[in-house]
Amino acid sequence: MSTPAKISLRNVHKAFGAKKVLQGVDLDVAAGSSVAIIGGSGTGKSVTLKCILGLLTPDQGSIVIDGLDMTTASRSDHEAMLAKTGMLFQGAALFDSLSVWENVAFGLIEGKGMKPKLARDLAIARLADVGLDADVANLSPASLSGGMQKRVGLARAIATEPEILFFDEPTTGIDPIMGDVINDLIVKCTRELGASAVTITHDMASARKIADRVAMLYQGKIIWDGPVSEIDQTDNPYLQQFVAGDIEGPLDLDLKHL
């Protein structure tokens, strides 16, 4: 890789009891690049993301971010890493007890100690970046549609101008048109910030649009990793089947009970 890796995973293992979810994940995310981790349900995409963020501790292996191994880093180093990351959750994970602008400004007020009035102005600017009017700022997250909640989640993720962005299934649960709007916003925001991005998705249209590189996770390992432009030329039968969405193929789809 020509540019130094912003995030580097080596031989990452994670098991829950007898269930081995990650069995030696190796992955590099170059600075300023956007990587999509694709794979079927239950292949460990979310677990990989949670291990990178430190929400789960891997059983084995290293996760190096900006040259620092997060599996052995101190709490302050870990907090410093989180301060330069933003995350869009699958269900947006907006705080019900706070208004929309308070959600967007949360990282600015609680994480960076910004005065609420200034943070509110910035939050409204961020809402505008994701195509939402200032009118929604005082609403409760529960009163928004799924697509609007995702956009608020995106505004919250980019509010602190992070160096690294994580997107967990950004288009899941919303209609294809709104999904495309979210994809465009992710591309725009990531480029404007110059951030490195990791997206986990099973939506190939989303992966093609958002990512520079695609890594396919299957049975706890990355089985294919390459530029997004090479997806359709690959001779990897697993990736071919996943991209085509075929039932027949080498992927074990666990459909025994159907």
Binding site: K50, G91, A93, L94, D96, S97, G111
Partner: protein, 257 residues
Amino acid sequence: MPIFAPVGRMFLSFLALVGRVTVFAGRTIGHMIAPPIYFRLIFKQMREIGYFSLPVVAMTTLFAGMVLALQSYSGFSRFSAESAVATVVVISMTRELGPVLAGLMVAGRVGAAIAAEIGTMRVTEQIDALVTLSTNPFKYLVVPRVIAGLITLPILVLIGDIIGVLGGYLVGVNKLGFNEASYIRSTFQYLEQLDVVSGLVKAAVFGFIITLMGCYHGYNSRGGAQGVGQATTNAVVSSSILILISNYVVTELFFTR
């Protein structure tokens, strides 16, 4: 032995639970004394736990004081000790009924609400979101609730004690024919500072237990709506049992000489 194996498993899982709750309590206390402290959230929780629990505590203690006056009068009249009614009401309310009834009512109202709110935050990834926004969930969610419980329960119990005594007074004067002035004099004649203080200490202990159990079960809930429902039930049941156990322990500490 097939008979002993399940018993042993249950005992071991109980010990593991005690260990997890103890570690959770230790972490909570550690975060309570280390900055940052979210005072704004503490005041908000004091309003939720204290102010909004006032009606239910007031109703409970009012009728407890009233029934206590009635029962003790009918019982004491068997050996001509009716004059002790006011003293019995005030000592029972301050030492036992005030803190225990308020504790149990707040456990049902607040403990369940805390477990449901934090449990929902857990299963909807809001707690993970807090972490990614550089905010410690323990400091942001658990500590304000526990501090608010520690402060507001004694205040609630003090108010409940007064209302309970008032209930006894209303029945004593209006139904049982006591003289107003003599009932009030009897109320304060044998009341000691320790009676009230021990009740307030119990209330603080119960406040800690209720909020800690609510937070613990909510924080560790798993498995969607069913998990949140289970967490809510566990929070109320465990805090109610612990209130009754700790009530005995604190009574031992104060009154065994």
